[in-house]
C-alpha cells in the first residue's frame, strides 16, 4: 500500500475517533432533508426524480465542506504534527493527496447515507436510476472541487476559523462565477476571453446540468481538473511555508 493510502487511512480513522464524523454526517443528512423537502418542494413537484435533492448541493457544500476542509492542514500546523508528517519519507504530494482522499471518501460516505431518498423515489414512482447515479457521481466530484479549495486555504494558515472563512469566500465566488455578482466585477475591464473563462468556472451552471441528469463529460472533467489544480496549489503553499 502506497504512502498516500496509508495517510488517507490514518486520516479517515481520525474523523471517527472524534465526534466530528458523526456530527458532520448528522448535520449533512438533516440539511439535505430540509433543502429537499422544504425548499426543493420534493412532493409538490410530483415527479419521481431527485432534482429537488441535488439542485441544492452547491449551497449545502458551500458551508459544510469548508467545515470539513478547514482542519486538513491548519490543525496539523497548530498541533505541530505537520513537522512529523513532512519529515517522514513521503512526498508533499502524497501527504496532500492522502489527506484530501480521506476527506473526499468521507463526504462520499455522507452522500451515500442519503440513500433513503433514493429508495423513497423508487417506491413512489419509477425514476431513471442511471440519471440518479450519474447525479450522485457529479455531486461527489463537485465536493472534490470544494474540498481541494479548502485544502489549499487550510494550508495557508494555522487558524481553522480563518481557513473556514477563506474557503467559504473562494467557494462562493466559484459557485456564483457565472452570475452578474461576479461577472459585473470583471466584465468592465477584462477581455472577453477572460470573462468567458470565469463564467465557465461557475459551479452552479455546471452543476445545474448535472442535477438534472444531463451529464456532460466536460462538466465532470471540469471538477476533476479543478480539484487537481487546487491540490497542486496546496503542495506549493506547503513548500513555500517550509521555506518561509
Amino acid at each position: 500500500m502506497g504512502a498516500t493510502l496509508i495517510i488517507a487511512r490514518r486520516e479517515l480513522g481520525a474523523y471517527f475517533a472524534t465526534p466530528l464524523a458523526y456530527v458532520f454526517v448528522l448535520i449533512f443528512l438533516m440539511l439535505s432533508g430540509v433543502f429537499t423537502f422544504y425548499l426543493g418542494g420534493f412532493y409538490e413537484r410530483g415527479q419521481a426524480d431527485l432534482v429537488a435533492f441535488f439542485s441544492f448541493h452547491p449551497w449545502l457544500y458551500l458551508f459544510l465542506v469548508p467545515a470539513l476542509a478547514m482542519r486538513l492542514w491548519a490543525e496539523e500546523r497548530k498541533s505541530g504534527t505537520i513537522e512529523l508528517l513532512l519529515t517522514l519519507p513521503v512526498t508533499r504530494w502524497q501527504a496532500v493527496l492522502g489527506k484530501f482522499l480521506a476527506a473526499w471518501l468521507f463526504t462520499g460516505l455522507a452522500l451515500a447515507l442519503t440513500f433513503p431518498l433514493w429508495i423513497t423515489v423508487n417506491v413512489l414512482g419509477s425514476p431513471d436510476n442511471g440519471v440518479i447515479l450519474a447525479s450522485y457521481a457529479g455531486s461527489w466530484l463537485m465536493a472534490a472541487g470544494f474540498l481541494a479549495i479548502g485544502s489549499c486555504m487550510s494550508a495557508l494558515t494555522r487558524n481553522q476559523v480563518i481557513a473556514f472563512i477563506l474557503t467559504v469566500v473562494v467557494c462562493f465566488l466559484f459557485v456564483l462565477s457565472g452570475f452578474p455578482l461576479v461577472l459585473d466585477a470583471v466584465s468592465g475591464w477584462a477581455p472577453r476571453v477572460l470573462v468567458d473563462a470565469i463564467a465557465s468556472m461557475s459551479f452552479l451552471t455546471r452543476f445545474n446540468a448535472v442535477a438534472r441528469g444531463v451529464i456532460g463529460l466536460q462538466d465532470l472533467l471540469f471538477f476533476v481538473a479543478l480539484a487537481g489544480v487546487w491540490l497542486a496549489a496546496t503542495t506549493v503553499v506547503i513548500e513555500l511555508k517550509q521555506a518561509d
Binding site: 496509508i6 490514518r10 481520525a14 512529523l84 519529515t87 517522514l88 519519507p89 517550509q242
Partner: protein
C-alpha cells in the same frame, strides 16, 4: 555521516542560523547546546528536511536533504521539538502508522512496534489515546516513533524535556546503549546531559557555532577547571583557615583563593593549564590542617556556557 556546510536560515528579517559548518561521524553522540532561540531547533529542522535552508547544504549519509529529501528521511529518526503526535490516536495505532509509512509491514512491523514499546516502557498505555497521556509518556511515544525503524541517524530535539529524573536516566541509558555506528544529535539545555551521553558538544548562540569539542574540553575552559575545594573542620582553629589562605595563594599553580562559608571553605582556583592538587595536598599534610573535605572540580559547564553564549548575545 552528516555534513553541514554554510547552513543559514532567515525568517524574514531575522537571521536564525548564520552559516554554520560541522560534520558528525558514525559513533558520534553530538550534544547541541545553546540558549533558547539560538538556532538549535531550526538547524535540526533543516537536517530533518522540514525547514528549507536559505543557504548552504545538509548531506545525510550522502543524500542531499534538498535534492533527495526522501532518501535522507528514510535514514533519519526524528523527534521534533515538543514531541508532536496525532493526539486522537492510540499509542499502538500511532506507532503502527509510522511503521507503515516507513515501509515496515506485517509481522516485522508488529515485532518492531513491540520492541520500541518495551524499550520505552509504554506497555501499560499501549491502547490509550495519546491525548490522555502525561507529558513524560508523550515524550516517550515520540522517542519510540523515532527509534521504530532502527535508523542510522537520530535527531532528537530535547528528548528528555518534561521527563522525571528516573525517565531521564532511562532515556540517557537508551541513547548510550545505541550501537556505536549510529549518529545521534540531541539538543538540550541541560548541561549534565551532555556529560552523561555525549562525546562531543557544539554550543551555538546567535545562529553561530561558538564552541565545538568534547565535554571535557569545554569544562577545561572553565575558570574552576581543576579547582581544589577545601573545607576546614569545625574542630580546627579559625586561624588555620586564614593561614591556609595565604599559603595556598602563594603556590605557583594557584591563581586565586576564594573564601566561602565564613572562611571555612576555600576554593583554590588553578592557573590555566596547571594542576594544583599535589601541592595543595602536600601543604595540608605538612601543616597538619584539620581538613574534612577535599575535592577537585572538573569545571563548571554552566559557567562556560554562560560565558561563551553571553559574548554573542
Amino acid at each position: 555521516m552528516i555534513e553541514i556546510s554554510q547552513l543559514a536560515k532567515n525568517f524574514g528579517e531575522i537571521a536564525a542560523v548564520r552559516g554554520i559548518d560541522f560534520t558528525v561521524r558514525p559513533g558520534d553522540v553530538l550534544g547541541f547546546l545553546g540558549p533558547n532561540g539560538a538556532g538549535k531547533s531550526t538547524t535540526m529542522k533543516m537536517i530533518a528536511g522540514f525547514v528549507t535552508p536559505s543557504a548552504g547544504s545538509v548531506r545525510v549519509c550522502g543524500h542531499d536533504v534538498q535534492q533527495d529529501p526522501r532518501g535522507a528521511q528514510r535514514l533519519i529518526g526524528y523527534l521534533p521539538e515538543g514531541a508532536p503526535a496525532w493526539e486522537e490516536m492510540a499509542v499502538l495505532g500511532f506507532l503502527r502508522f509510522i511503521g507503515a509509512v516507513r515501509g515496515v509491514h506485517g509481522a516485522e512491523c508488529t515485532r518492531r512496534v513491540e520492541d520500541v514499546i518495551e524499550r520505552m516502557g509504554l506497555g501499560g498505555v499501549r491502547r490509550q489515546r495519546i491525548e490522555t497521556l502525561s507529558k513524560g509518556y508523550k515524550r516517550r511515544v515520540g522517542l519510540a516513533q523515532a527509534l521504530l525503524h532502527d535508523p542510522r541517524v537520530l535527531i532528537l530535539d530535547e528528548p528528555t524535556d518534561g521527563l522525571d529524573p528516573n525517565q531521564k536516566h532511562q532515556v540517557r541509558e537508551l541513547i548510550r546503549g545505541l550501537s556505536g555506528d549510529k549518529i545521534v544529535v540531541i539538543s538540550t539545555h541541560i548541561l549534565e546531559e551532555v556529560h552523561a551521553v555525549c562525546n562531543r558538544a557544539i554550543v551555538i548562540a546567535g545562529g553561530r557555532i561558538v564552541a565545538d569539542g568534547t565535554p571535557q574540553e569545554l569544562e577545561a575552559r572553565s575558570r574552576y577547571h581543576r579547582a581544589v575545594h577545601l573545607h576546614f573542620s569545625d574542630r580546627g582553629a579559625d586561624s588555620d583557615a586564614a593561614e591556609a589562605r595565604a599559603a595556598l595563594a602563594a603556590l605557583e599553580a594557584v591563581s586565586e583563593v576564594e573564601v566561602q562559608a565564613g572562611g571555612r571553605r576555600l576554593v583554590v582556583v588553578a592557573r590555566p593549564g596547571a594542576n594544583p592538587l599535589g601541592a595543595v595536598a602536600r601543604l595540608v599534610h605538612d601543616r597538619g590542617w584539620l581538613v574534612d573535605e577535599l575535592h577537585v572540580e572538573r569545571g563548571r559547564l554552566d559557567e562556560v556556557f554562560r560565558d561563551i553564549t553571553r559574548e554573542v548575545a
